[in-house]
């Protein structure tokens, strides 16, 4: 299956079938910091992914100015 990753943007080929949670393990990614999108649908960790699937692993973490919300 084709797996699209970000930061930096790249596409890699991974052999299926494989459960989504095993894909996370193989890529050494933390589940809590990512979403798995198949086509344009979200999938849960126990979903089976196949060779013909187009997968995006989307990071969800953003950062920056931590003090923005204070009054001064």
């Amino acid at each position: 299956m084709q797996v699209q990753l970000s930061h930096p943007a790249r596409t890699i080929e991974i052999k299926g079938p494989k459960k989504a949670k095993d894909l996370f393990k193989e890529l050494n990614l933390v589940v809590e910091a990512h979403l798995i999108i198949r086509g344009d649908e979200l999938v849960t960790e126990d979903e089976m992914l196949y060779d013909q699937d187009q997968i995006e692993i989307r990071p969800v973490i953003s950062g920056g100015s931590p003090r923005f919300m204070s009054h001064e």
């Binding site: 970000s6 849960t44 950062g63 920056g64 100015s65 919300m69």
Partner: protein
């Protein structure tokens, strides 16, 4: 995996709630969490005018979307920081959302362009004054949102800070014991004096992953790319650490931040020393005379049990 509520196929699992949801039930969950945050922190009322700080990212656009769908009067302000292509893309995402989703619901988008007023973008300004870019950005955004909220007489200003933002900020402050900042970590900061607009964070009960999922499921087109100025920011390191803990022990971030809020709400008890507490609670074990809270201390109980089993 099926939806915990309606049993059809789930699209997201939430280990910290031991639940999984389909799109419909997940949207109900998200709106419910925001509603609980607004009520518990007395953020605003149904007829208040709200100014949402939008950046083009998932959290702020999701917040604008949620408030409008919950029938709040929510306009937005976008501050164009002048960070090259990144600002161009984020501005375009905000305008697209404003035109296609917000405007049909009667909401207005305000835009402030840093370069027009300051003569330079955020990166150049930070270099001129020898300050970190994120800190300069924070000061400018804070000032401009406050100014627009006051000028346009909004009752309250809302930002898209989520559970991860607040837990990471709390971790940073606690690691360095920056107690002076802890008071400002409330999800609802009152307009403490003239010149300050009230500020609230209605998303503080939702994680970053949940908000990204909400945006994907509701087709909110946000900027996925990270701000190039935030690379190496310490906040990202704290978030990474907290997410490793969360994966091993779901609910850690919520327990950390919400536990802090609970402690802040409770009136401070009169200070008691450890010796005073011990003297009030402990007395001699009836077997060995060492101090214990029970009649027989845990050591004597353990030894008695061991002797029973060895016979």
């Amino acid at each position: 995996m099926n939806c915990t509520k309606c049993k059809i196929r789930a699209v997201i699992d939430l280990p910290r709630h031991n639940a999984a949801f389909c799109k419909g039930c997940f949207n109900v969950y998200v709106h419910d969490q925001v509603s609980r945050a607004i009520k518990s922190e007395k953020m605003f009322k149904k007829d208040d005018r709200i100014l949402v700080a939008v950046s083009g990212g998932k959290d702020s656009l999701a917040l604008w979307d949620i408030l409008l769908k919950m029938s709040y009067k929510a306009d937005a302000l976008y501050v164009d920081l002048g960070i090259g292509g990144y600002s161009e893309v984020s501005h375009a995402k905000v305008v697209q959302f404003a035109e296609t989703v917000a405007a049909p619901m009667g909401a207005v988008l305000h835009v402030h362009t840093v370069e027009q007023e300051a003569g330079a973008g955020i990166k150049e300004l930070a270099m001129l004054i020898h300050r970190p870019t994120c800190s300069t950005c924070g000061t400018i955004k804070r000032y401009q949102f406050n100014r627009v909220a006051l000028e346009h007489k909004y009752d309250v200003m809302a930002t898209g800070h989520n559970l991860d933002d607040e837990a990471a900020r709390l971790l940073g402050n606690v690691l360095r014991w920056q107690e002076e900042y802890l008071d400002k970590q409330s999800p609802s900061l009152p307009a403490s004096l003239d010149g300050f607009a009230k500020k609230v964070k209605p998303l503080f009960r939702l994680s970053e992953r949940e908000l990204a999922a909400y945006s994907v499921l509701n087709r909110i087109d946000y900027i996925v790319e990270e701000c190039p100025m935030a690379k190496g920011a310490r906040t990202l390191l704290y978030k990474e650490v907290l997410n490793r803990l969360e994966t091993e022990s779901p609910g850690t971030k919520q327990a950390f931040y919400c536990g802090f809020l609970d402690k802040q709400r409770k009136p401070e008890a009169s200070p008691t020393t450890m010796a005073e507490k011990d003297q009030a609670m402990l007395h001699p074990c009836s077997v060995c005379q060492q101090p214990t809270t029970a009649d027989v201390c845990s050591y004597c109980k353990m030894m008695a049990r061991a002797k029973t089993h060895s016979v």
